[in-house]
Assembly symmetry: C2
Homo-oligomer: 240 residues x 2
Amino acid sequence: MFVIGIGPGNPQDRTHRAERAVSCCSTIVGYAPYVESIADLCEGKDTYTSGMMQEADRCRMALQKAVAGATVALVSSGDAGVYGMAGLAMEMAAAENLSVEIEVVAGVSAANAAAAQLGAPLMLDSATISLSDLLVPWETIITRLQAVAAADMVVSLYNPRSKKRVRQLEEAAAIFRHYRPGTTPVGIVTAAGDKNQQVVYSDLEHFLDEEIGMRSLVIIGNSTTRLIDGRMVTPRGYYR
Amino acid sequence: MFVIGIGPGNPQDRTHRAERAVSCCSTIVGYAPYVESIADLCEGKDTYTSGMMQEADRCRMALQKAVAGATVALVSSGDAGVYGMAGLAMEMAAAENLSVEIEVVAGVSAANAAAAQLGAPLMLDSATISLSDLLVPWETIITRLQAVAAADMVVSLYNPRSKKRVRQLEEAAAIFRHYRPGTTPVGIVTAAGDKNQQVVYSDLEHFLDEEIGMRSLVIIGNSTTRLIDGRMVTPRGYYR
């Protein structure tokens, strides 16, 4: 079984290894929009899709098909190893005694794709934090936000806000506002790689006013991040 | 001008977008081993290579060729926006008044590639820190290591050790050892994607004894990271 990162969504951002792995499988399992985005590779294959929050069901289905002898591709957007399905597959296979050889195929992560659209905000040390408190206690997330903010690291925020969940991003903004000036650059990329992609440049004081949703990734700069010719850049320091 | 991440080194890990960008350029500039690794795309093109530490020279060369009217590909391994050339290019173009349109093409980063080889260590919140103190003061790096260690985040260490620079990794290990047990999983991937690739599983107490060099990436797990069927996994918590 392959757990495959198909990149941010545009076929142009897939790797050859990911495409080859999908192509050599007989069975494709994934969240419906992700499988849809690789429809060109799935012709004639058994495909199984399900909706959001059905991760464990999809994973079990994929493992069971593999145990039954199929070569299976379990697909994630971005990189399958970053808030994706790779870890769940390994955990479930071991816990349920499903003897399946699992190979992870890395992809371009959502943070890296968003950074390329914004300029070069992740040139130096950075952190990746999800604001979803479905699986991690909010107190733990707060501790991490504070640590990263105090240590002057750039941060990529995954799952920043949903229709029901708006408080987390406000709290995160307040934490960073405590350590960094309101003029600190903040970049927002929504639906990266998609034809509806939106790239917004804002700052720590104003970015909460922007449209930010489930498909957005928010990058908050550090003390050296600045706009250069309209792009968000964290200079590495080569150029002095 | 395109600043292009060509992934961890194996042609299989390049994206279509990266290959297409290289193919449409007349001039290729990069560190010699990276340009060598895309030789199949460079036939008939002007190529300019230079050695390590010549980043600024390469960047200036690329910008000057672009100003002179060439379409230029400046290539980085991994992702061009993570300890790569993207930020330098934007900074230099602005500082030296070189009017060049710069597009960044994201690639599979070294950390994501290493994680896929190890299993799924980066499933949850993590940080990326370079131990090279050539461009960032060591005190700043220490502060970040301490913050990330205390906040129980997984960390990917870039530039962990070179022949001349061994003290930094020892200090980093001591910081994490202060916050985490010696049994905490540590993964080391050297020359990811290459035919000489080495994948080593160790732990916080013993990993300094392993072969770690300029082409290694070290991932230190957090309190939940464990070995599952011999792979390094940070469970996301779906599976309870």
